[in-house]
Amino acid sequence: MPEIKRRTLLAGMAALPAAACTELAETGPAGDIFDAAEDWHRAAHRTLASRQALAPEYAPDERSPDIKGNGTLRIETPEYRAAKANDFADWRLSVTGLVDNPLSLSMDDLRALPQRTQITRHDCVEGWSAIAEWTGPQLSALLDAAKLRKEANFIIFRCADVLYDRAYYESVDLIDAYHPQTIIAHDLNGAPLPEKNGAPLRMRIERQLGYKHAKYLTGIEALASFDDIEGGKGGFWEDLGDYQWYAGI
């Protein structure tokens, strides 16, 4: 077989599945199969690891020199600039939705709760990782104080940042919400969170990728379903770019 023909054949063999994939992904069935595969991954992880199985924690000298900021790095709204200038003294975190006892907590209220400090690895969906020490109260303590109702299935995190004209938000199910390492971090490596990492408050959802760890946290909402929230897919990147709601892989 002449060389040129062979090369054309090989290129054709490579292009064929790619073209077919694009075609398939844009039609219905592939989307359903992708969703099923995501569910299987989540089910497999949940079966193999216990609900409380911890993400690895590291020693202080294993931390990375910095923790890269991603997504929103600076918020330009006058409200946020004023709050930051005031060292977030008046920042409030609300706990609302399917709770019997809605809360509105100050930074001091959050610091007065029992604290958890953990040195964990932050894995971005892009592939990079950084290790840092995070401190804050467990989300479970807030949900208990707010008296979560039985109908609640998901916890939504509301944020102060707006990207591409959409408010950032994220959601997890109750397994991750009640996981011992799921904390509302206010300190990074022993100092208040820098703005690029989500000052003054951010979520840590340690068994999932970085985009689940909502920054600039303003509210926690308990809901039965997130179908009616924003784009209906349970998170900013899920709505905008069709990212996987379960980001444990």
Binding site: M1, F34, E38, W128, S129
Partner: protein, 230 residues
């Protein structure tokens, strides 16, 4: 007796399809952060041991940069790839295909055995057409297939699982054995390109030795030559 058993043939083509989709969607994922690190963390390109090129759209799935869709293709095909690999291994141990055709003998690991294998592959040498020549795999083939089936393909699964933070909570030791998450990610990349190298050689060998007959025998099963003692 068929040259390739039905199980081998079914697995071969399922695996080929899964690996092509995994490789091409993997190139999109590589484009998301084109730097590789050793250890547990790594985010600063200055610390990278390798800067990877940006793979062109024609080589990727999908045919444009879309990380979320690439991850869908990758994580869906991974199920097919891993389950098929596992079932193939179980089957080849039960049917003794592994012991009969893939497992090496001590004499396979000698330069002389390799030289003979390579000589038999040179153009003009149509191995086995003469009666009485052993039609089973030669030492170089046994070693190559053994490494691909027993090391490269399983390592793709293990390094892939280790990158998943949800799986890590179930098996943190896997990440430790591999030297940390960024090491696992680097190894995933290295083994993927090792497989690509095998793929190129494999296609070349097929093209050099009666490609139509080879393709046909991987579909219909083909026939083992008479006098074969394999």
């Amino acid at each position: 007796m068929k040259r390739h058993s039905l199980i081998t043939r079914i697995w071969h083509w399922i695996n080929a399809a899964a690996v092509i989709v995994l490789f091409m969607s993997g190139l999109t994922i590589s484009n998301a952060h084109r730097h590789l690190y050793w250890g547990n963390y790594g985010f600063d390109p200055a610390d990278a041991w390798l800067h990877v090129i940006r793979f062109p759209a024609w080589a990727t799935i999908p045919q444009r940069y879309d990380l979320a869709e690439a991850r869908d293709w990758h994580n869906t095909s991974a199920w097919i790839f891993a389950l098929a690999l596992f079932m193939m291994w179980v089957a080849s141990i039960i049917t003794k295909h592994f012991w009969r055709d893939i497992a090496t003998k001590p004499s396979d690991w000698t330069p002389r055995a390799w030289l003979t294998s390579i000589k038999d592959h040179l153009p003009g040498r149509t191995t086995g057409e003469a009666p009485g020549i052993d039609r089973s795999y030669n030492p170089v083939q046994r070693i190559a297939y053994g490494i691909v089936l027993g090391v490269f393909l399983p390592m793709m699964v293990f390094t892939g699982l280790a990158i998943s933070p949800g799986f890590e909570a179930a098996a943190p030791w896997l990440v430790d054995i591999l030297g940390g998450r960024q090491s696992a990610r680097s190894l995933h990349f290295v083994f993927a390109w090792g497989l690509f190298g095998f793929f190129v050689l494999h296609l070349l060998m097929v093209l050099l030795s009666n490609p139509l007959k080879q393709m046909a025998s991987m579909i219909t099963g083909g026939k083992r030559e008479e006098n074969s003692d394999a």
